[in-house]
């Protein structure tokens, strides 16, 4: 790597005259880069300016004239990021050079943009559909592509509101179902082999040893497999038990969050964010409210800031507990450790239920605050948990598992990722920190009131499975530290700085709000045009981006290690497929 240029202000326009210009649209910021110079600009940003971590790549359809690809990169040393965009006319074929050679972490995100927007990335190593299947008709996130149950562009739908009439979407569709087909389509004449392109990308081999021909075996793990934590699938080529090649296949839980999110009003999206990472609805809400609050330029009520921290950290604790429990499941200690984990989780869910009304889908944040204050007695419960019970239980897990010989021999030395590769592949969260990179959004670019608390960024150095387990215990302990301070410091006062309202006014512009979710950097990229609905609502899901390097992590290891690697990666399908 070349030496970094220490610049206070990054001026791309001066560095690349004629090929980069400031984005001057009201509410927008940073840079618009010429398509032909994209690779050069990206390389410069990474090598000279030190923006080594590509956070997210996404498309925006400015119907009817242009498409935009938005990139945002951060420094692993902390601080704000740089946002740059490429604009292309909206005429097929739409082509943009791929940045995957510069930041390999862009690989799946570019595939997603191809799938949903139909933007081709030249020089991309493996450009296939990722969430939908090969052969699907159309690119669904384009503004002029309408789903079969389409009624109108924005909610609330006129057919139902304000009269409250009941309308069945099925009645409006000619197929009486969520279906649409091209004109004169004949299902018996189509020949589709959606799986062929997948199997073509797998690296296969045949060897002849002593006259005996040895062939590869292809194993499909998933979409229904107990180790994949949901409907994830991996196509694996094996040599004996050793993994030769592996391709993740996803989209089995693609619930069209982003398309639905663009129809919803800003506030209607809040309960949908709950269902992304369904273990941590409390932290999912936060990323989205951060982004919209940035756009609205409002402050959050003081007490609400503390409530947000308390709920998010409790959420992190139960997430890591479940991870440890389920990891032991995957290792073969069937369900006993998971029972211990669920016992503590129930206590935390009790707090969520008492406060928000539901156990899992809390829908707790509002722009400017939270929806409800703590009911009587709940603060005492939280205090009891964080001062007494949870520290004890963290020690109990430690005693039970950390020194266990079978556990250690299975986990120690099985490398998941080293620091350099982890950064290249845009991995964030505990997996990155277990590899030795002290990058935590709570410290790198503090949001909310995290700058007021005294805590350490948990860090391990080996990047093996064992460190990935240990770092979860470390983080539980740090979260308990934060909670102990937050419970002590929380002031009385209102829980929302705004009046409760059904529809919020959001000025035009773009905003990216990111938080350190238990699984990594969770961000929301929201574009408003000043209307009641967001023009673009993109989720930067840590599970999805962390999985990009799965093949690199697994090749050369045993198939049984793949199960454990997937376990410590902590994917959740609601977020991975969105």
């Amino acid at each position: 790597m070349t030496t970094l240029v220490e610049t206070e202000t990054l001026d791309l326009a001066a560095r690349f005259p004629g090929s980069a210009a400031a984005d001057t649209r009201p509410g927008y910021s940073d840079w618009i880069v010429n398509k032909d110079k994209l690779v050069e600009v990206a390389t410069t940003l990474r090598d000279e300016f030190g923006y080594d971590l590509l956070s997210h790549v996404t498309g925006v359809d400015y119907f009817p004239d242009k498409m935009e690809v938005v990139y945002e990169a951060f420094k692993t040393t902390g601080g704000p990021g740089v946002l740059f965009k490429v604009q292309v006319p909206r005429v097929d074929p739409i082509e943009v050079p791929s940045v995957t050679p510069i930041w390999p972490g862009a690989e799946f995100q570019e595939r997603e943009i191809w799938d949903l927007y139909g933007i081709k990335f030249t020089n991309h190593p493996d450009l296939r559909r990722i969430l939908m299947w090969e052969g699907f008709e159309g690119h669904p996130l384009r503004k002029d592509w309408h789903e079969p149950f389409y009624e109108e562009d924005f909610k609330p739908l006129k057919s139902r509101w304000p009269d409250g009439k009941y309308v069945s979407s099925e009645d409006k569709n000619p197929y009486k179902d969520n279906l649409q087909f091209p004109q004169n389509f004949d299902p018996e004449k189509v020949k589709i082999d959606g799986e062929a392109p997948l199997y073509d990308t797998l690296q296969k081999y045949t060897t002849v040893d002593g006259g005996i021909k040895t062939d590869h075996i292809i194993v499909n793990m998933g979409p229904q497999h107990p180790s994949t934590h949901g409907v994830f699938r991996a196509a694996v080529v094996l040599d004996g038990e050793t993994i030769v090649s592996l391709k993740p296949v996803m989209g089995y839980l693609h619930r069209n969050h982003e398309k639905i999110g663009e129809r919803n009003t800003f506030l209607q999206n809040m309960p949908y964010t709950d269902r992304l990472d369904y273990f941590n609805s409390m932290s999912n809400n936060w990323g989205y409210s951060l982004a919209v609050e940035k756009l609205m330029n409002i402050k959050v009520a003081e007490r609400a800031e503390y409530l947000r921290v308390i709920m998010a950290e409790l959420s992190r604790i139960q997430n890591h507990l479940i991870l440890i429990g389920m990891l032991l499941n995957d290792l073969g200690a069937y369900f006993t450790p998971a029972l211990y984990a669920f016992e503590e989780r129930e206590l935390i869910l009790d707090i969520f239920e008492a406060t928000s009304g539901t156990r899992m889908m809390c829908n707790y944040h509002r722009f400017g605050g939270v929806s409800r204050d703590l009911p009587e007695g709940v603060l005492e419960k939280i205090r009891g948990l964080v001062e007494d019970r949870l520290p004890r239980k963290a020690d109990e897990f430690d005693r039970l598992l950390t020194e266990n010989e079978i556990f250690i021999s299975r986990m120690k030395g099985v490398k998941v990722m080293d620091a350099e590769d982890a950064v290249k592949y845009s991995i964030t969260g505990p997996v990155l920190r277990a590899a030795g990179v002290p990058y935590d959004v709570r410290r790198a670019q503090p949001y909310g009131i995290y700058d007021r608390f005294d805590f350490d960024v948990a860090l391990r150095h080996n990047g093996d499975l064992y460190d990935n387990y240990l770092i979860r215990l470390d983080e539980i302990r740090q979260s308990i530290r934060i909670l102990q301070q937050a419970v002590k410091q929380m002031p009385e006062g209102p829980i929302n700085s705004q009046k409760p309202q059904y529809q919020v006014r959001v000025p035009a512009g773009e905003a990216y709000g990111r938080i350190e979710a238990p699984k990594g950097e969770l961000g929301y990229y929201v574009i408003s045009t000043g209307k009641p609905n967001p023009w673009r609502y993109h989720v930067r899901a840590p599970s999805f981006i962390n999985i990009t390097a799965l093949e690199k992590m697994c090749v050369g290891k045993k198939i049984a290690d793949f199960v454990v690697i997937l376990g410590v990666l902590d994917i959740v399908l609601g977020e991975l497929d969105r």
């Binding site: 384009r142 091209p182 004949d186 089995y252 839980l253 639905i260 369904y278």
Partner: protein
């Protein structure tokens, strides 16, 4: 164990000295009683609801009280498919295949709003509005997600349903019942149900109405 009364309501008078030694019951009752307490669910989670399903299995809610704690990852060994989560078009071929692979007698519980009718994601282009469009459902459980208590209540409903079965009438003892398999949907330009090929062909040949003209 359950009280013997459940089995032992014969309608015949049993002499008092034999009451602890002799039971008179019907085959149906014995058969249903045996099965209702040993329903093995498939370890099959789709989305958020699966987490509540696991919570129902875990310490506090303890489904083992109903003989349902034996989760089988293989469809070949399970009696009950709890469709726990949003059913997508990409996933439905696998779900139908799993259903076909389950041996009779088999039951399906649609857990949550999504599996029952599409739920909050119904309008999504990749979402199947209810698993009952493809596999027969025995019990629907509302909620998003249903709490473990609601799941337990739904499973008790299933037990009540099992109680009402008669060995003479159940479908899996009918002639040829084992060979009945549901056709597996195909992923084309959109999801294609083989049972509806003719209908799709006919409707697609019609001139586009404003509602279908959406594709640009």
């Amino acid at each position: 164990m359950t009280d013997n009364k459940e089995l032992n309501s014969p309608g015949y008078e049993i002499p008092e000295d034999l009451q602890h030694a002799v039971s008179i019951t019907t085959i149906d009752r014995l058969y249903n009683w045996g099965r209702r307490w040993s329903v093995w669910p498939m370890m099959f989670g789709l989305a958020c609801c699966a987490i509540e399903m696991i919570a129902a299995q875990a310490a506090r809610y303890d489904l083992a009280r109903f003989g349902m704690e034996v989760m089988r990852p293989s469809p070949r060994q399970s009696d009950l498919m709890i469709v726990a989560g949003t059913v997508t078009k990409k996933m439905i071929p696998a779900i139908v295949r799993l259903y076909n692979q389950m041996p009779e007698p088999k039951y399906v519980v649609a857990m949550g709003a999504c599996a029952s009718g599409g739920g909050p994601f119904k309008e999504g282009y990749n979402v199947v509005a209810g698993v009952d469009k493809f596999v027969p459902v025995d019990v629907y459980i509302p909620g998003c997600p249903p709490t473990p208590q609601a799941l337990t209540a739904g499973l008790m409903k299933l037990q009540e349903k099992i109680d009402k079965e008669s060995i003479r009438k159940v479908r899996w003892y009918q002639k040829g019942a084992d060979s009945v398999e549901l056709p597996i949907p195909v992923l084309g330009p959109d999801l294609m149900d083989p049972r509806r090929y003719n209908e799709i062909k006919m409707l697609a040949a019609k001139p586009a109405e404003p509602a279908t003209e959406s594709k640009a």
